[in-house]
């Protein structure tokens, strides 16, 4: 599924599609009940929305600006679902998980796009939004390397990888992550600390 959405973004923000399809909540429901088609459709929508909002927010800012990922996600949720709060809590959790995944994807795509640019992309193209700065403090980390290491971690311990995704890419707090995954906060903290040690070693090994 990841491959499907891989290249959506590059064309996505050039020709934005309708931002608020009326059936987003329905899609969310279906996705949460295991409909993978709905899930990938929703994923695209969320990703576009996040990107569009990030771009808009950063449009007038200087390049070094950072945005808190979660503010973006909260607002995306509100804009996509409307403020009427008619979304089931489980669906809502699903949305937040999905959004973290989308943020991860956005950052990876940006990194890839920039690498391609470095290798000689179209001249004069604006260095767009520094989206990969959104994961605030850790922009020193190579996003792509992290992405691959995270995939390897998922094979060892899927939950740990998921926690990193939510905490790091989604920007969710320990408590939020605990709620999303339905485990205790201490588990989140322990798993995240262990995962961090492991990932760091992986990245340093190169």
């Amino acid at each position: 599924m990841e491959n499907e959405v891989c290249c959506v973004l590059l064309s996505g923000y050039a020709t934005p599609m309708a931002i608020v399809p009326p059936d987003v909540t329905v899609l969310l429901q279906q996705a949460n009940h295991g409909n993978s088609h709905a899930d990938s459709q929703l994923f695209k929508i969320v990703q576009q929305q996040l990107h569009r909002m990030a771009e808009k927010k950063l449009a007038h800012e200087s390049p070094g600006t950072t945005i808190q990922a979660t503010i973006l996600v909260d607002d995306a949720f509100l804009q996509l679902m409307g403020a009427e709060h008619s979304v089931e809590i489980n669906d809502r959790n699903h949305f937040y998980k999905l959004a973290a995944r989308a943020m991860r994807r956005i950052l990876i795509d940006r990194a890839r796009g920039r690498n391609a640019l470095k290798r000689g992309g179209p001249q004069g193209k604006r260095a767009d939004v520094e989206l990969d700065r959104m994961s605030d403090k850790s922009y020193e980390t190579d996003i792509l390397e992290l992405h691959h290491a995270l995939k390897r971690l998922a094979e060892l311990d899927n939950r740990q990888a998921e926690i990193v995704e939510l905490r790091h890419f989604g920007g969710y707090s320990v408590e939020e992550t605990a709620r999303l995954l339905g485990v205790s906060t201490s588990t989140i903290k322990q798993d995240f600390a262990a995962a961090k040690a492991w990932l760091f070693r992986e990245l340093r090994r190169g």
């Binding site: 979660t70 994961s135 403090k137 060892l156 990193v164 408590e175 205790s184 903290k189 600390a193 040690a197």
Partner: protein, 887 residues
Amino acid sequence: MPSDLWKQIKQALIKAMSLEGQARADFINRLECQSSELAAEVRELIDASEVAEEEQFLGFTAKLGELDDTVVFNHQPPNSTYDTIPPSPEKERKGPSSIPTDSINPSLSVSEDFEINELLGQGGMGVVYKAYQHSLRRHVALKIIPERLMRTPEAVARFQIEAEAAAKLDHPGIVPVYEVGERYGVHYFSMALVEGNNLAAYVDDKDSRLEQRKAAEIIEQVCHAIQYAHDRAVIHRDLKPENILLDLEGRPRLTDFGLAKVLKEDEGLTMTGQVMGTPRYMAPEQATGDQKALSNRTDVYSLGATLYALLAGRAPFGADTLLQTIKQVVESTPPSLTEFAPNVSPDLQTICEKCLQKRPHDRYDSAGEMAADLRRYLDGYPIAARPMGRWKRSYLWCRRNPIVATLLSVTTATLIAATVISSLFAFITNQALHEANTNAQQLREAIKESFVFASEGILTHEPGMQTVRETFLENALQYYSQLALLTPKDRASQQEMADAEFMLGKVQATLGDTPSANASYQSARTALQRLAKQSPDNATLLSKLAKTHTELGSLAQSQLNSLPTKTSEAGNLLLEQWVEELANALRIRQRVDEIQPFQQESQRLLANAYMHLAMAKGERGVSNKRIEEVEEARKLMLQAQEIRQTTIRQLDDEPEIKRDFANGFFNLANLRSQLASLTTHENIGHELLLQSIADAQQAIDVARSLPLTAIDFDAQLELSNYFRLKANIEFQLSLLEDAESSYQRSLDIVEKLSARNSHVFHYRLRMAETYYNLCNLYFFQHHTIKGLQYLRSCRECLVEGIRIDPRQDKAGAELVSFVHAVALALAKSENYQLALEQLDQTIAPLLALIEQSPVEYSKLQIQVKSLQKAAEQIRSLQQESKASPTA
């Protein structure tokens, strides 16, 4: 690496991370013995984690401290917080001391003439000692007001009335008052010392129950004494077996006109609508606080109730809780006397029934008439009273009676509970407490129930409830400190003691005694932590522990708010304490939620825990200018809202949660506007402010959707706060028209509140502040005249507040700062004359107050001085500008 192996490594790694120094080294060495591969991995990863930490790898770092912290609950490692608590020391309570029941109060050396011998008893309004009067060489009973009750002028006044009323009475059936005095601020009076028991002894003790004719004779004599008092316009109002002494010759002697109401001089004290008396012997009109309905017949009712108790061995009414007792008094028919005394004479039964009628007019017209009927019975003549058909009539009447409706309204019920308890303390502290029998247990429950009921806001702002509340709290304080003083063997259980400590803390906090409250809460916390350690899955216990943490947090918060500068070291410490306690509370609430998920009440409390922590973190973030922390606070707040949203959706109509929900939006709006003030980007700030307005609007909408029954004074005040916050932000965004209308709506509400409760200082302050806001708004738009009008309202409102209660320092301080600010602004725009006028118009009424009562308003001198100083400043500016007209 296979995932099984990783699981093993991970476990060992987590364990190692939770350890430090030597303990960690030891642990890894032990691993070495198991598997060197495993140990090597753990070593490598620990190193990696330390470097990762330094380099802030992945931004959000779960610090090791945090890890320790959360491990506590599941595993309780040796150094968990539970173990650091020292083993419970025997309490050396420093809280406000209550009257010792077994020793002599040292303050009584007050009068050299009296030598205190022993404590005879104590009641709500005083303590009675046996004393020897040297000058007249006689033993007397000396009654004094405990010092703790001396704080309110009202209590002193009531004491004096009591003494005066009693001193006027000269009747063999009434204990004579010899002397009323005051020495070193201690009020006392001496009475004849009556050796013997009071009638309660004959009610409680089955073996010494009086024979029915004897009981009738005694009550007949009491009736005569009461009639005598009634003839002199004194109603006893607190007649009960305890207040009737039986001297050694067997003659009844009435005492304790403590609640006597001097019919001719009843202004002032009764304004507060206080209800006094012991509910079990109290007439329904007294129970509902209907001052106007009190009459001679109120005492007739109590006489009948006392007779009933002497015959039956129990009061006509008495339920598990006070509120239930009152309800019975007002609505129910007392059990037939024959249930308890099968051989009771039908005549006596009829006489009791006649007295215990709900409607005053159905009782005997006077105590004298009752005495006459008792005499007829004793002499074998037919009595005048006719059987009533077993109270049926009155019961039916009662069902239609407006009193019942009144009772059902929350306010009245609270009022009754609060005041009735005050008079009950006499009874409790005397005997029941030390016996720890079931009776005491019930009372304890009742007191707790009513205290919680009464202290949680409702009573605070109700019209005329301030003095009642104070009296009540003083009594509660006494009760709980006595409970806490009990020796260990008397303690029913550790948990009960923890409860008492908690309640004591709560009363102390409500009375503003922060250090004592802190100490009480801390011992409650210690005890609860110990108990929670024994049964870690006990949700009730954990919930109490969380509550204690929350209270400790809000104590820190209120201390912080009362500091002159929050940025001091002390301020920082309090801020940390505040956050820490609430973080603990949240952690425990989460645990409770895990133990018993989806419970409405624990969901509500969980949401509140999130919200409180969010408020604390928001404050800390703002104070340290750390935008991340404010952002974190915002998220916590959102979580609180989400929980509430879910709960509201599950339940159709839950006003309490809805109110929390509105409050959550309000706090969210606050946080967003704080975020806006911290952010350096104008656009983001602007957007945040817009969102903040939307949040405030949501708060307003939710608050307005509350059902009418849920809208009390507090809810209205909250609504006005929402409008005011909204207005402030609109003002910030230059949405002047919106701001004006929002301020006006906020003002409308507090004006109404304050008009109905002119003595509630809180409302007045809020009103003055809103006037000032509007004044600012108009100045901003250059509507100087309109602005000054509002400044004038603000000034008048605050001056009136100071006049009513000189103790309210805040009014003076605000007045000065508001007027000063406006005067300076006017001076800056060279309107010197106008500026000086403002200052003069403020100084004048303050000086008038000082002149009127220099002692009471002495503090105002400071305010006047600073205003005069400001006036001088402006005058010199004026001179300067005249000197250099070119400037």
